[in-house]
Amino acid sequence: MWAYLVRRILATIPVLLVVAVVVFLLVNLAPGDPAALLVGDDARTEDIERVRQRLGLDQPLPVRFVHWVGDLAQGNLGNSVLNSRPVLDLILQRLEPTASLAILSIIIAIVIAIPLGILAAWNAGKAIDRGVMVFAVLSFSFPVFLVGYLLMYVFSLYWRILPVQGYTPLAQGLGPWLANLILPSVALGLVFSALLARMTRSTMIEVLNEDYIRTARAKGLATRPILFRHALKNAAVPIVTTIGVAFAALIGGVVVTESVFAIPGVGRLTIEAVLQRDYPVVQGVVLFAAFACVMVNLVIDLSYTFFDPRIRY
């Protein structure tokens, strides 16, 4: 088990290295001189040269890459061009709303999708099943910002029972925090419940055809323990894998949702940085998000042994 754990953690290093190479090349091969951009339009050549030396841009590309990765390994994502503050600090400062939104969305997606998927699988081929699948295709086709505006229009502007936009930190109480987050999380959670419901349904249909399910029914076990204790646990591995795969898409969805509901999170930080051409921040956010994805999938890989004790490392 421990040997596997170490091996699995080490296996993330090449992936992270490729991520670093891709992001580095993206930023450094893009047209335009960052030094010239930084100094401004009417700068003298020697000023640009000075800034270039200060940023180390006069060094060859491989040398810069090694320096940069060395900094990354120490948790140094560089500094913002605009206000010279460390990028990592800027991200961590904005992390609470983003993490809240992401976690709440996943919870809502699971709460909606797993029962729907089970219901559809239990009634495979019947009207309920069709209905669930129609819901899944629909919520997968409509963009999260449209669902967000629709929910905002109905609940915040028409019925006026929820705040329109913004974010209240968790420290100011669970109620206000939830009131601000519930609509964005439902909007984002709906999209993911579609993916998850489809996966739950198809896996459950497969599992429900297994011999041990027939045995459980033959010995007179009630439907509920069969579905949840026997079937769902055995269907868990592919379902949990889907959550991991969808996590990358979830982060993209978070950026959009934050924009719709004016939530001051990492997504807003990214868009602000893009519009102000603050490349180190853009670069830092992409790296940070990719790192989070790799870590989430690592944890999910390790959770398999909990759901399926046959998987031993």
């Binding site: 086709s141 963009p143 198809s202 993209g252 490349y279 990719a290």
Partner: protein, 294 residues
């Protein structure tokens, strides 16, 4: 499974033509429904100049923020531009992006995937690179690319293609690994067929059905992706009416003019829905065995 397909064709051949069409509709309703809806949406976008007399770009401050009426079917925006006209023309951007991204990523993915699946020495390197690329959330990667390059329709297509290619590579590589074990590939190799010819004429044709299905899903994701980027203000230049741009311009009008968001949003959702239905239907059509499972 292939026996089944042949039998189906024979049965269909015995039925008169009219009956054959009805039989296809009955058996594959999603293909017909999705394809039909998509056809209508493409038609109204391309025929936009015939369907509306309004120029999608013409400002008309006197008629600003009008709700839907007989004059302006979908109402007008804050500059008095006709939303119906803008929505129809906006579909063109989605069609270009959807087709462009699907074609490009399938082409590039096929080349890399075939090479990776066939030349085992390159495989490890290529696949590690693809793993890394897939670890970066697609929307963020596209946003970063849009930030670094000058925004244009072409750059949007490129940015979305880069995020889709790794998935195609994985699929093509997996298919190549299965197909290369088939007896007819072995026969071709022992007959002296060279690698390029083998890949293009013996292996590639056998992965067309799953690639078509994959292409429809990529198309749907690309249409959504363009709308997302444009909505965030880092997509198609704002002077081009695209569904994402129209919604982005109206983000402060949710309360005053919900129609400026609802109609382009509805068209966007319907187009993605149509493409997804077509994809699901085609998947079942190509592989009836899969349809029973998922």
């Amino acid at each position: 499974m292939s026996d089944l397909t042949i039998k189906d064709v024979d049965v269909a051949g015995a039925i008169p033509r009219r009956g054959r069409v009805m039989e296809f509709v009955r058996r594959h309703p999603t293909v017909v429904l999705g394809g039909g809806l998509l056809g209508v949406l493409i038609f109204v976008s391309l025929a936009a100049p015939l369907l509306t007399q309004y120029d999608p770009l013409r400002l008309n401050v006197i008629e600003r923020l009008q709700p839907p009426s007989e004059r302006h079917l979908f109402g007008t925006d804050a500059y008095g531009r006709d939303i119906f006209s803008r929505t129809l023309y906006g579909g063109r951007v989605s069609i270009v992006v959807g087709l462009g991204v699907a074609t490009l990523s399938i082409l590039i993915g096929c080349v890399i995937g075939l090479v990776s699946g066939f030349f085992r020495r390159l495989d490890a390197v290529i696949m590690r690179f693809m793993d890394g690329l897939m670890a970066i959330p697609g929307v963020l990667l596209a946003i970063a690319m849009m930030a670094l390059l000058r925004p244009s329709l072409f750059v949007v297509v490129i940015a979305l293609t880069v995020t889709e290619v790794p998935r195609v590579v994985r699929l093509v590589r997996a298919l190549t690994l299965t197909i290369r074990e088939q007896p007819y590939v072995e026969a071709a190799i022992s007959g002296g067929t060279r690698a390029p010819r083998l890949l293009v004429f013996h292996i590639l044709p056998n992965m067309v059905p799953p690639l078509i299905v994959q292409a429809t899903y990529i198309c749907a994701l690309a249409v959504l992706g363009e709308a997302t980027l444009s909505f965030l203000g880092v997509g198609v230049p704002p002077e081009i009416p695209s569904w994402g741009n129209i919604i982005a311009e109206s983000r402060l009008l949710v309360q005053r003019a919900i129609w400026t968001i609802a109609f382009p949003g509805l068209f966007l959702g319907l187009m993605v829905l149509a493409i997804n239905m077509l994809g699901d239907g085609l998947r079942d059509l190509f592989d009836p065995r899969l349809s029973r499972k998922s």
